[in-house]
């Protein structure tokens, strides 16, 4: 009888241990994915209604706030550079030899015809600041057991009122994310796969971004190489490096 009482008393503790809070899950994701700096080469495969295009790029990133991307291929996009400093974004186009600041309505435009907008790139992903997170269930995704975490906006000033994340229970990495409109309509879906161990962290090598209101198979974002916590010269993140 005494043992039974002990077991019953321990159940909530065990359940808690198995079901971390949404906040904890987001913190663990950050621990796993966030880094001081990244240098990567990647390709973006855009599946349009009529054709598929592949764009190659090399990127340098410093936390969530600074990033610099140089497009390497195809010839049409080669030499285009993009600089993001906190909430500001500039693009250099070699054909016009001009630096353009992307702001206001232009931020909503598609990034090189992909399913991502410039605004999606500006998302600094500090989810805990803007959202309350709660675990609402679990599901198997790509043979991995996942928590389903629902994020509800704390304030009115966010792009998406509701988000849902499927987070790998053991690796603490999201495998799927859905972004919803206020009306509850699904607007965008992100799928992460080819999770690879890089150093002491798990990292997705492939992401598929899909605007759910648009036809087409979405945009694939494939990381060919990535290095974490490398020293990056400060001049990279200046407007001078755009030209």
């Amino acid at each position: 009888m005494k043992n039974l009482i002990i077991i019953l008393l321990l159940i909530p503790v065990l359940v808690w241990a198995q079901n971390p809070s949404g906040k904890e899950i987001l913190e663990r994701i950050d621990e796993n994915m966030a880094s001081k700096s990244t240098i990567s080469t990647s390709k973006m495969v855009i599946h349009g209604a009529r054709q598929t295009r592949t764009i190659k790029a090399k990127s340098w990133g410093m936390g969530d706030e600074k990033s610099f991307t140089e497009y390497l291929a195809p010839a049409r996009e080669k030499g285009t550079k993009m600089l993001k400093l906190e909430d500001e974004l500039w693009i250099y186009s070699p054909s016009s030899d001009r630096i353009i600041k992307i702001s206001g309505h232009m931020l909503r435009q598609s990034l090189m015809g992909s399913d991502l907008s410039y605004e999606d790139m500006m998302d600094n992903a500090e989810l805990l600041e803007d959202y309350d997170a709660g675990v609402i269930g679990s599901e198997i995704i790509d043979e991995r057991d996942c928590w389903i975490v629902e994020l509800q906006a704390k304030t009115a000033e966010v792009n998406y009122q509701t988000r849902k994340m499927w987070v790998d229970k053991s690796r603490y990495i999201p495998l799927k994310e859905e972004l919803y409109a206020k009306s509850g309509k699904l607007l965008k879906k992100l799928e992460l796969s080819e999770i690879t161990k890089i150093g002491n962290r798990w990292y997705p090598q492939k992401m598929i971004f899909k605007d759910m209101l648009k036809k087409g198979n979405g945009t694939e974002f494939i990381i060919d190489e990535i290095e974490f916590d490398k020293e990056i010269e400060a001049y990279i993140f200046t407007k001078a490096s755009l030209k």
Binding site: A49, H105, A181
Partner: protein
């Protein structure tokens, strides 16, 4: 008087050569009157349609609103002022709320302006009453709202009445939202600026969708509205200001058209000039005889000048006898614009009915007459240098 009589006799005597010149001149005159009539008819129709469908008798704009800068749209809406609220209830002004949005017809994304209008309004001709089909503010469950679009928007998005499509927009806080809309009506109007890339829904629904209760971007005012005071935060735009672009374009069209008339007139004047030179060359004996019979050189020059200018008088006579009926017939059937003209972004009806004002007819006739007079005089000046004795002998001078 003698000069006129003689000139008339000589002209008629010249036969086919005279009538060839007269027909060319009459054609030019006819073309100018008809084309300017078309432009004036177009201008009148565009003014009428734009007033009825878009600009009303003037507008009040929220102070940040700039229709040429879409970046201003996010900040160009404000609470409806009391004085305009009252006028709106009286039906003499109508509010319009504007937001940027995207529509996804058949899975394609297209940017558009989402406009909220009062379904009961009668100030502009947009058939808002169609939005009352579902008597909505915001329907319960927020699944589907009704919308109306113009024929150009319907064509571009391949939408038809009864179709359901998705729209996405952001509220005043920047949060994305999306809903299904049902196209309840497609209206046909000649004003592309209220049609292409625009969708109309109930203003109450849009205010709720944008989280902007009782707000508007602009007001269209009726002729019964009386301006009384400045309204803080709102800027009055008078009718003429709102029509500036259209009027400028019509002016440009007239200038563009006048290049063609200049070329036509040049050809006609060249014919008259040649005729005059030929007449003076061939009729040297006649000129010598006139002078020998006592006419002064000036009188002879006048005779030949009047003779040339009479081509213009005959041309006016031809146009007013034969052309009037034709011009009136063209006015009754109108001029059908080529297919696709209404996609040029300007207010234009399928058929334009020319308007011939007295100013246009008299002004054009006078212009043709004066130019013909000048062109007739220039070769005739040579007569004053002729020696009458040599002229009688028919010696070439």
């Amino acid at each position: 008087m003698l000069a006129i009589k003689l000139a008339y006799r000589n002209l008629v005597g010249a036969g086919l050569r005279t009538w060839l010149n007269v027909i060319v001149l009459a054609f030019v005159l006819f073309m100018i009157i008809w084309h300017y009539g078309i432009l004036d008819g177009w201008n009148e129709q565009a003014n009428r349609d734009m007033q009825a469908w878009e600009v009303g008798n003037g507008q009040y704009w929220q102070e940040n609103y700039d229709p040429y800068d879409f970046f201003t749209l996010e900040d160009s809406h404000a609470k409806i002022p009391e004085v305009l609220q009252k006028a709106s209830s009286d039906g003499i002004v109508t509010p319009i709320l504007i937001s940027q949005a995207s529509v996804y017809p058949d899975g394609r994304i297209q940017s558009m302006l989402l406009k909220g209008i009062d379904p009961e309004q009668k100030v502009i001709a947009i058939p808002g009453a169609e939005l009352n089909i579902e008597s909505e503010a915001m329907p319960a469950g927020r699944q589907e709202i009704s919308a109306i679009i113009g024929k150009r928007m319907a064509k571009n998005c391949k939408l038809k009445e009864g179709d359901i499509t998705t729209i996405r927009w952001r509220d005043v806080n920047g949060t994305f939202d999306a809903l299904e809309v049902k196209i309840v009506a497609i209206f046909d109007c000649n004003v592309p600026s209220i049609d292409g890339g625009q969708m109309y829904i109930n203003i109450n629904t849009l205010q709720e969708m944008m989280q902007a209760p009782n707000e508007a971007t602009l007001f269209v005012i009726d002729e019964d509205y009386e301006m009384s005071e400045d309204i803080s935060g709102w800027v009055y735009k008078e009718f003429d200001f709102l029509m500036t672009e259209m009027n400028e374009m019509m002016k440009m069209k007239k200038v563009g058209g006048s290049v063609l008339y200049f070329i036509l007139m040049l050809l006609a004047m060249l014919a008259i000039f040649d005729t005059q030179v030929l007449s003076i060359f061939r009729r040297q004996k006649e000129i010598g005889t006139y002078i020998a019979m006592g006419m002064t050189r000036r009188q002879v020059v006048s005779l030949f000048t009047v003779e040339g200018a009479m081509h213009a008088i005959l041309a006016v006579a031809v146009v007013s006898t034969l052309g009037t009926g034709f011009l009136l017939w063209l006015q009754s059937i109108g001029f059908t614009m080529p297919a696709g003209t209404d996609d040029m972004g300007i207010a234009i009806a399928e058929t334009i009915y020319p308007v011939y004002g007295a100013g246009l007819i008299i002004g054009t006739s006078l212009l043709v007459f004066v130019i013909t007079l000048i062109v007739s005089y220039l070769p005739a000046r040579k007569i004053s240098k002729m020696k009458p004795t040599d002229a009688i002998k028919g010696k070439i001078q």
